[in-house]
C-alpha cells in the first residue's frame, strides 16, 4: 500500500498527463498518421485499393484544376483576413475609447456572441439577409435604389462577408488586448513632440499594436484557409476551395486524393503559422520601458465620433444575421420571404415534430456534455502537471496538446473519419464523444491553465455536434423557416446557458473579466 502511494507520488505528473496524452495521441495523432498513409494508396476506376502508389500526389500536382483550387483557397483566406483587419482594427480601437462600462460590456457580448452560436445558424442568417429575396435586396428594391435583386450570395462576396462575420472576434480580441496595454503616456509624448492625433496614431500607436495585428491575422488566416461550411453553403458551388475538394473526394471514396489535399492544406496552415510567427518574433523587441498607466481624459472630437459610429455599425453587422434568424422563425410564409408574411408558430411545431432534428438534439446534448466533461477533466489534470509539476519537455507536450487547434478542421475531420471506419467505431456515440473531447481539449487546457474556469462555458456550446450536421444537411436541401425556428431555440438555449454560467461569476469579477482595464 505504502509502496503504491510512493509510486503515485513519484509518477504524479505522468499520471496527470496520461488522459490528455491518450486522447490526443489516440484520436488525433494516430488519425493524422493514418491520413498521411492513405495518400499513398491508389484510387482507380472508382475503387479504393491498397496498392501503394503516388498517383494521388501526381494528379494533385499536375492537374491545373488543383493549382486553381490552392490559389483560390489562399486568395479567399487573404481577402477574409484583410477585410477582418480593416473592420476589426477600428472596432478594437473604438472599444478602447468607450467610457461607459455598460456599453462596453454590451459591446463585448455582442462581438463575441457569434462564437456562442452554431456555425450553421450564422450561415443561415446570412442566407436570409443576402439572398435575392432576402432582407437587403428587398429593402433596396423597396426604396428604389435597385431595379432588380443584386447577387450577394452564391458568389465569393457572400462567402467573404459571412467568414469575416464569423472570424471577426478572433481579429478584434488580440488587437484589443494589445491596445488596452498601450501606455497612454507614449501617445502624449508623441503629441508633445509635435505629432497630431493622426500622426501619433500612425507613428506610435499603430506600430506598437502590430504584435496584436499579427496575432489576429494569424488566427483568422489559419481558420479562413480551412473554412468549409461557409464556402459550401454560401458559395453556390463557385467558390472552389481545398476544404470543399476534400469533402467531394471523401464522398467519392477517393480517399488518397482527399488525403493529399488535406496534407497540402495542413502544410499551407503550418507555413502560414510560421510566417506569422516570424513576423511576431521580429516585433518582439517592442517592449515598453515604463508600466502602462491609466489614461487621462482627452477631449473627444470628430475622430472619436467617427469611431463611435464604426463601433455601432460593426455591432449591427455582427448582430443582424442572428436577429433576422429570430424574426424569420415567426414568418407565416414558407419561402423565407421578407418582410415576414404574418406571424406563425408553425415552424416551431414542425421542428419539435421532425424526427432527425429531435434525435440530433438529444445526441448533441449527450455528446456535448459528455465530451466537455472528458475534455475539462483531462485538460485540468494536464494543466496541473504542466504548471505545477516538474515535467521534462513541457514545451513540446504543450505544443502536442494544442496541435489539434492548428490543424484545419476539415483535415482533422477526414482523418478521424477514416480512423473510426478502420476501427469499425464509426457512428457510435462513444467515438463521437472522444472526437469532440479531443477537439475541445486544447481549449480546456488553455482556459484552465489561465485560471479562467468561467470561460469554460464556451466549451458547452451546442455546436460542432450532430444537430448542426442535421441542420447542414437540411439547409443543403430545403429553405424554409424551419431552420430559423430551430436556430432560435438554439440561441435561446445558449443564452440560458450563458446566463446560468454567469450566475456563478460575481458581477464585479465579470466586469473585470470583460473590461480588463
Amino acid at each position: 500500500m505504502a509502496a503504491a502511494f510512493a509510486f503515485v507520488a513519484r509518477r504524479r505528473a505522468s499520471l496527470q498527463l496520461l488522459p490528455a496524452f491518450a486522447l490526443t495521441a489516440g484520436m488525433f495523432a494516430s488519425a493524422m498518421l493514418l491520413l498521411f498513409s492513405y495518400s499513398a494508396y491508389t484510387f482507380r476506376g472508382g475503387q479504393l485499393t491498397e496498392e501503394v502508389s503516388f498517383l494521388a500526389w501526381q494528379k494533385f500536382f499536375t492537374d491545373p484544376f488543383y493549382f486553381g483550387v490552392v490559389a483560390k483557397t489562399l486568395q479567399l483566406a487573404l481577402g477574409v483576413t484583410a477585410a477582418a483587419l480593416a473592420i476589426g482594427y477600428p472596432t478594437a480601437y473604438a472599444l478602447t475609447k468607450v467610457r461607459s462600462s455598460k456599453l462596453l460590456v454590451a459591446a463585448y457580448i455582442v462581438i463575441f456572441s457569434p462564437l456562442l452560436v452554431s456555425l450553421v445558424v450564422r450561415v443561415y442568417g446570412w442566407l436570409l439577409l443576402l439572398s435575392d429575396n432576402g432582407v437587403i435586396n428587398q429593402a433596396l428594391l423597396a426604396i428604389g435604389v435597385i431595379a432588380e435583386p443584386i447577387r450577394l450570395i452564391y458568389n465569393e462576396a457572400g462567402v467573404v462577408i459571412a467568414l469575416v462575420h464569423i472570424l471577426l472576434p478572433f481579429m478584434i480580441f488580440p488587437i484589443l488586448s494589445v491596445l488596452l496595454q498601450f501606455d497612454h503616456a507614449l501617445r502624449e509624448a508623441a503629441n508633445d513632440l509635435g505629432a497630431n492625433r493622426v500622426q501619433a496614431f500612425l507613428r506610435v500607436v499603430f506600430p506598437m499594436s502590430l504584435p496584436g495585428v499579427v496575432a489576429g491575422c494569424q488566427i483568422v488566416f489559419t481558420l479562413a484557409i480551412s473554412a468549409f461550411v461557409t464556402p459550401e453553403l454560401l458559395g453556390g458551388g463557385k467558390v472552389q476551395v481545398l476544404s470543399r475538394a476534400i469533402w467531394f473526394n471523401v464522398v467519392d471514396v477517393n480517399w488518397p486524393l482527399a488525403a493529399v489535399e488535406a496534407i497540402v492544406l495542413l502544410v499551407l496552415a503550418l507555413a502560414a503559422l510560421a510566417v506569422f510567427d516570424l513576423a511576431a518574433r521580429s516585433l518582439r523587441a517592442m517592449r515598453p520601458t515604463g508600466s502602462p498607466r491609466p489614461r487621462r481624459d482627452s477631449p473627444g472630437g470628430f475622430i472619436d465620433r467617427a469611431l463611435r459610429i464604426v463601433l455601432f455599425a460593426v455591432l449591427a453587422f455582427v448582430l443582424s444575421p442572428l436577429v433576422f434568424v429570430v424574426i424569420n422563425s415567426f414568418n407565416g410564409s414558407a419561402f423565407n420571404s421578407f418582410p415576414p408574411q404574418g406571424f406563425s408558430l408553425q415552424w416551431y411545431r414542425f421542428v419539435l415534430g421532425y424526427a432527425p432534428f429531435r434525435e440530433g438534439m438529444v445526441n448533441s446534448l449527450i455528446i456535448a456534455s459528455a465530451s466537455t466533461l472528458v475534455a475539462v477533466a483531462a485538460g485540468m489534470l494536464a494543466a496541473l502537471a504542466l504548471t505545477r509539476g516538474k515535467v521534462r519537455g513541457r514545451g513540446a507536450l504543450n505544443a502536442f496538446f494544442l496541435s489539434p487547434l492548428v490543424m484545419p478542421r476539415v483535415a482533422v475531420g477526414i482523418a478521424v473519419f477514416i480512423l473510426l471506419i478502420r476501427l469499425r467505431l464509426f457512428g457510435t456515440t462513444g467515438s463521437l464523444v472522444l472526437v469532440h473531447a479531443m477537439l475541445s481539449l486544447p481549449f480546456a487546457l488553455v482556459l484552465t491553465s489561465f485560471d479562467e474556469t468561467e470561460a469554460s462555458i464556451f466549451l458547452v456550446r451546442p455546436s460542432n455536434t450532430t444537430l448542426p450536421i442535421q441542420m447542414f444537411l437540411y439547409l443543403e436541401q430545403y429553405q424554409n423557416p424551419t431552420l430559423a425556428a430551430l436556430s432560435t431555440l438554439l440561441i435561446a438555449a445558449t443564452i440560458i446557458l450563458v446566463v446560468v454560467a454567469l450566475r456563478f461569476v460575481r458581477g464585479a469579477e465579470l466586469a473585470r473579466l470583460v473590461a480588463r482595464r
Binding site: 502624449e188 509624448a189 503629441n191 513632440l193 516585433l283 515598453p288
Partner: protein, 363 residues
C-alpha cells in the same frame, strides 16, 4: 507689455490659473512667470498639483479658469502639438519600437524638417547629452541614466521655448541622481534653454534652481531664489519643507517703529529685527538649528537663554542637540563637530542667536 498684457520678459506665464477635477482643486489660483533662460523649480509634496501645473503649461490640461501665455501669446486653446514646449515625462515615455536615433529625430520628422538638417541636429544634441555612438540602440538596451538622456535629447532637439521636466530623476538611485543633477544643470547652461523642473526633493530644487516655487494644496506658498526661501521662509509649511527648523509659537509683546519686535514664548523672551505683526498677535517663528549658538551655562552671554541638554546626536561633521529652554520649549541646535564645544545630556547650557535669525512667519 505686449498687446494682450503678458510680461515680455516671461517665456511662460500663468495668470490666476485654476484646474479642478470634480471636487478636487488640483491647481488653485496660481500666478507665476518664468523668465527666459532660467532654471525654475516647482517644489512640493505629493499631490500638491505640480504635475497638473506642468501639464497645463504643456497643453495636456486646460485651465478651468485663468490664462496661460507662451512668449506673450495666450495659448489656452493651443493643443500640445502646436506649442513650443516639450515635456519630459516622469516615466520617460520613450518609444520602445524605435532606436535612439529615431526617438530623438521624432519631433523633427513630424515637423517635416529636411533630412540633412534632422541628421545634423540629432547628431549635435546626442553629443550634448553624451550619447554619440548610441544611435542604433533600442530602449531596452540602455541603462536608466542613458534612457534619461535620450528623453532629454528627444526634447531638446526641438529647441523648445521651455523644457518641462516632471521629476525626471525620480526613478534613479541616489548616486546616479546626484550625477544627473549636475549633468542636467550643465546641459541647461550650455543650451540656454528655459527649464521648468518639477520635484518633491527640496535638496534637488535648492541645488539646481535659479528660482523655486513651493506649492501646497494647489497654491504657491512661496516663490523666490533658493537662498531666500531657505533663509526667509514665509509660512510654517515652507519652513518645514525646506530643511530642518524649529517652529516656535509666539506672542508679539512690543513692536518698534523700525519693524523690530519683542516676542514671547513659554517664558522665553527675545527680540527680532523684522516682524510684520501687531502687538498681542500670536504667530510662529522659524529658527534654523544652525543659527543657534550653544555655550556652557557659566559662559552665558547676556542675551542667552538658560537650558538643559535633553538629547545629543552625533552626525559626523555636525552634532545635533535637543535643548529644553524657558518653560518647556524644545529647540534643536546644530553645531560643527570639529570647531565647537561639546556637551552631554543633562548639561546646563545657554542658547543665543542674532536678532535677525528668527523669521516671523505669516501663520
Amino acid at each position: 507689455m505686449s498687446a494682450d498684457g503678458a510680461r515680455a520678459s516671461d517665456v511662460i506665464e500663468l495668470r490666476d490659473v485654476t484646474r479642478s477635477f470634480g471636487e478636487v482643486v488640483a491647481v488653485d489660483h496660481v500666478s507665476l512667470g518664468i523668465r527666459q533662460g532660467e532654471f525654475f523649480a516647482l517644489l512640493g509634496p505629493s499631490g500638491c498639483g505640480k504635475t497638473t501645473t506642468l501639464r497645463i503649461m504643456a497643453g495636456f490640461e486646460r485651465p478651468s479658469s485663468g490664462d496661460v501665455y507662451l512668449r506673450g501669446r495666450r495659448v489656452n486653446d493651443v493643443p500640445p502639438y502646436r506649442r513650443e514646449t516639450n515635456l519630459i515625462f516622469q516615466q520617460l515615455a520613450l518609444f520602445p519600437h524605435m532606436d535612439v536615433y529615431d526617438n530623438v529625430a521624432f519631433g523633427l520628422r513630424v515637423k517635416r524638417r529636411p533630412a540633412a538638417e534632422t541628421a545634423d541636429r540629432v547628431r549635435s544634441v546626442l553629443q550634448l547629452v553624451d550619447l554619440a555612438g548610441y544611435e542604433r540602440r533600442r530602449m531596452h538596451e540602455l541603462s536608466g541614466g542613458q534612457q534619461q538622456r535620450v528623453a532629454i535629447a528627444r526634447a531638446l532637439v526641438n529647441e523648445p521655448a521651455v523644457l518641462l521636466l516632471d521629476e525626471p530623476l525620480g526613478a534613479l538611485d541616489l548616486k546616479l541622481r546626484l550625477q544627473m543633477q549636475r549633468e542636467l544643470k550643465a546641459m541647461q547652461r550650455r543650451s540656454g534653454t528655459t527649464f521648468v523642473y518639477v520635484t518633491h526633493d527640496q535638496g534637488e530644487a535648492l541645488a539646481m534652481a535659479d528660482r523655486v516655487a513651493v506649492m501646497q494644496l494647489g497654491k504657491i506658498a512661496q516663490l523666490g531664489a533658493p537662498e531666500h526661501i531657505y533663509s526667509r521662509p514665509a509660512t510654517r509649511f515652507v519652513a518645514h519643507f525646506i530643511g530642518d527648523t524649529n517652529i516656535i509659537p509666539v506672542t508679539v509683546r512690543e513692536r518698534g517703529v523700525d519693524g523690530s519686535a519683542v516676542l514671547e514664548a513659554n517664558g522665553l523672551r527675545f527680540a527680532v529685527t523684522d516682524a510684520d505683526a501687531r502687538p498681542g498677535e500670536t504667530r510662529h517663528v522659524s529658527l534654523r538649528p544652525e543659527k543657534i549658538r550653544i555655550a556652557a551655562a557659566h559662559a552665558a552671554r547676556p542675551d542667552g537663554h538658560a537650558g538643559t541638554v535633553t538629547d545629543v546626536t552625533f552626525l559626523g561633521p555636525l552634532t545635533r542637540y535637543e535643548v529644553s529652554v524657558g518653560e518647556g520649549v524644545r529647540l534643536v541646535v546644530q553645531t560643527q563637530t570639529e570647531s565647537e564645544e561639546h556637551f552631554r545630556r543633562d548639561d546646563r547650557v545657554s542658547l543665543s542667536w542674532a536678532p535677525n535669525a528668527p523669521v516671523v512667519l505669516k501663520d
